[in-house]
């Protein structure tokens, strides 16, 4: 029976020193005794080293500045001014807003869509300004398709909002229909750009499979087991 001379508490035989003050336990009467059983095993469970996505994304964002500055410097040294390096700037801007921004900042989906669309718009504008070509492709093809894609994404994100109470399969149905219609619209804009608007042809190859898949999803939605799965994951 040993007591801590500092704290006055009795110490279990397993304690090599007082856990309250760290004073070593030396009991001359109990020196020869065998090592007592420890109350806990010596094996310690360590926490996994987890990756902080936000930190990694911020780090990659910083790394992206290296090629950007290198290209800009090369551009100035070669041409005496900033010109073609704007392509890299625009490309990196799009890559950042699409892939890294969602990892860094949490915001409503609609804002992500708007920011991504704006970034693509800026890239297209830079290409137009630097290439100094015909504005038609930007106004009739680039911006309308970007805008329409953004609107579709926004529409889909709105339909996916909890207020609509749509089951997950119906949401996917909407997504597929949106995709099919987007492809038809792209063919329309291409026709507009070529001044040859015609009845859609190749885009129908995309639209029809999308519609068929969408209807199968709607059918699946009627299955009780699948509905139960949806109910479980989406209850509120």
């Amino acid at each position: 029976m040993s007591y801590c001379v500092n704290c006055g508490v009795e110490l279990q035989k397993s304690e090599p020193r007082c856990p309250l003050c760290g004073t070593e336990v030396i009991n001359p009467n109990e020196l020869r005794e065998e090592k007592p059983m420890r109350p806990y095993p010596s094996h310690v469970e360590h926490l996994d080293k987890t990756v902080d996505r936000r930190y990694i994304a911020s780090f990659i964002s910083l790394l992206m500045l290296i090629p950007l500055f290198t290209v800009m410097l090369a551009n100035i040294l070669v041409s005496g001014k900033l010109s073609w390096s704007y392509y890299v700037l625009g490309g990196e801007l799009v890559a950042f807003t699409v892939f890294l921004l969602p990892m860094i900042a949490r915001m409503p989906k609609i804002l992500y869509v708007a920011i991504d669309a704006a970034a693509v718009g800026v890239l297209l504008l830079l290409i137009q300004v630097i290439a100094q070509g015909n504005w038609d492709w930007l106004l009739l093809l680039g911006l309308p398709i970007t805008g329409l894609t953004a609107v579709m994404c926004w529409f889909f994100s709105v339909m996916a909002e909890p207020t609509f109470k749509l089951p997950i399969l119906v949401r996917f149905t909407f997504g597929l229909v949106c995709l099919g219609l987007l492809v038809v619209a792209i063919e329309f804009f291409i026709g507009l750009y070529q001044h040859a608007i015609a009845w859609p042809t190749w885009s129908l190859y995309v639209l029809f499979p999308c519609l068929v898949l969408a209807s199968s999803l709607l059918l699946l939605n009627r299955r009780a087991r699948v509905k139960e799965e949806i109910k479980k994951r989406f209850y509120f």
């Binding site: 279990q12 109350p39 806990y40 010596s42 909890p162 989406f234």
Partner: protein, 429 residues
């Protein structure tokens, strides 16, 4: 033999459980641990069979935590949790994201069977029923012990009872709510342990010593220990904080088992808490003054009416349409913020006393000791929990800082009050 009825495939979280998944982080989730030390070494194979039988009787513990779009939910699994070897630092956070991960784990070390629970499943009382049933089943299988079954040690040949999985908060909520606003409390500071090491110091006290002292003062054992803890923290704050006007209230969060107040047979969460404490800015307190405050605050707060208001406040929040329709990831952020404001921040530490555990004589002869440990807290640095069995009150302190400031102050104070304490820990050699 009739075929066992399959448990519900999934369950909503009970009202108290909702906050725990929202506030958990990569390194922390709210855990607690109950253990029973037997007279002989544990046989892993028998323990596995005992666990299987216990989970058939109590399927509410074989659920895994899953993410829905709006809330977390519990999904039943027909798999069995693996029996694990115990570790030197209990209550390290569970890996809930992995597919094998249940919300509880059974561990053993030499003579001891320990079960660690994520609070999302149950509270201390429910956990104790699980442990006792598991140990009874183990003893029956190993020694053929004929243990009488009842409410605390369940009969594994019986069917699960749906009332055991009831969300009693929803059943007992009323109409009147109250604000959760409270002043923030003093927090003990120290050097954070890296790598998730959790220090455990156990003070073993003769239960009759504390009971005699508590009776002398006409208070309960929980009130007595709470008062000692408050004064210990008060002393620490007076030592650490130089200016008196910077003192913060010292408050202890004491969980209250609602089953003793409201009729309920649930084995899921059904507890609330009372924050008991003093404001050191008003001057120094004597032990009798603190005891008086603790005793009367308990009498005032632990009433059916006031607890009903507290339950209602939480249930009404859960029923708020706007909150229900908010996607889970936003809810989680909001919950983290809310918890930092009205969770741990309002108390300096927790003292959860499960009281005296009495087992049938046929079972008692095989069980030497029982322990109750709270896992490390989210914001606070120290947690305390107590359980009395076989005439010994075991007071377990969980700490995630290097310095045992509170434990030293608390246990030496008990010694000064004439209550001998025997101390052990999980310190490494």
């Amino acid at each position: 033999m009739p075929k066992t009825k399959k448990p519900a495939k999934w369950m909503k979280l009970d009202n108290a459980a909702l906050i725990y998944p929202g506030t958990m982080s990569r390194n922390w989730n709210a855990l607690f641990r109950l253990s029973a030390t037997l007279t002989e070494p544990i046989d892993e194979d028998i323990l596995e069979v005992a666990q299987k039988r216990t989970l058939r009787r109590l399927p509410w513990f074989a659920y895994k935590l899953k993410r829905g779009l709006f809330w977390f939910y519990l999904e039943h699994s027909d798999d069995l949790p693996k029996i694990e070897q115990d570790v030197g630092n209990p209550c390290v956070r569970m890996r809930l994201k992995s597919k094998e991960s249940f919300c509880m784990r059974v561990r053993y070390y030499q003579n001891r069977i320990a079960v660690e629970f994520f609070h999302v499943l149950t509270d201390g009382t429910g956990g104790l029923v699980f442990l006792q049933t598991l140990v009874a089943e183990y003893l029956r299988l190993k020694y053929g012990a004929n243990i009488p079954r009842g409410d605390k040690v369940l009969d594994c040949s019986e069917e699960p009872k749906p009332e055991e999985a009831e969300d009693s908060f929803a059943v007992h909520s009323g109409k009147i709510t109250q604000s959760r606003k409270e002043t923030k409390a003093y927090h003990i500071k120290g050097t954070d342990e890296r790598g998730g090491f959790v220090h455990i110091i156990t003070g073993s006290i003769n239960a009759s010593d504390v009971l005699t002292k508590a009776r002398e003062k006409n208070v309960t054992v929980t009130e007595y220990l709470t008062a000692v803890l408050i004064l210990s923290i008060d002393t620490i704050q007076r030592r650490k904080v130089a200016q008196e006007h910077r003192f913060q209230p010292v408050k202890i969060s004491v969980p209250i088992n609602l089953r003793s107040i409201f009729p309920s047979k649930t084995l899921r969460n059904f507890a609330n808490y009372v924050n008991l404490g003093i404001d050191p800015r008003l001057g120094e307190y004597t032990f009798d003054e603190v005891l008086n405050i603790v005793h009367h605050t308990m009498a005032m707060e632990v009433t059916k009416k006031l607890l009903n208001v507290k339950i209602t406040t939480n249930v009404q929040t859960q029923r708020n349409t706007l909150l229900r329709l908010t996607p889970l990831f936003i809810k989680n952020m909001a919950m983290k913020i809310a918890y930092s404001q009205v969770g741990d921040a309002l108390s300096t530490t927790t003292l959860s006393n499960l009281g005296v555990t009495k087992l049938p004589k046929e079972m008692e002869q095989y069980i030497r000791r029982m322990d109750f440990i709270l896992g490390p807290p989210a914001d606070n640095r120290v947690n305390t929990a107590a359980l009395t069995y076989n005439g010994r009150l075991r007071f377990n302190c969980t700490r995630i800082i290097a310095e045992p400031i509170l434990e030293r102050e608390f246990f030496t104070r008990l010694v000064k009050l004439g209550i001998p304490v025997k101390v052990e820990s999980n310190q490494m050699e």
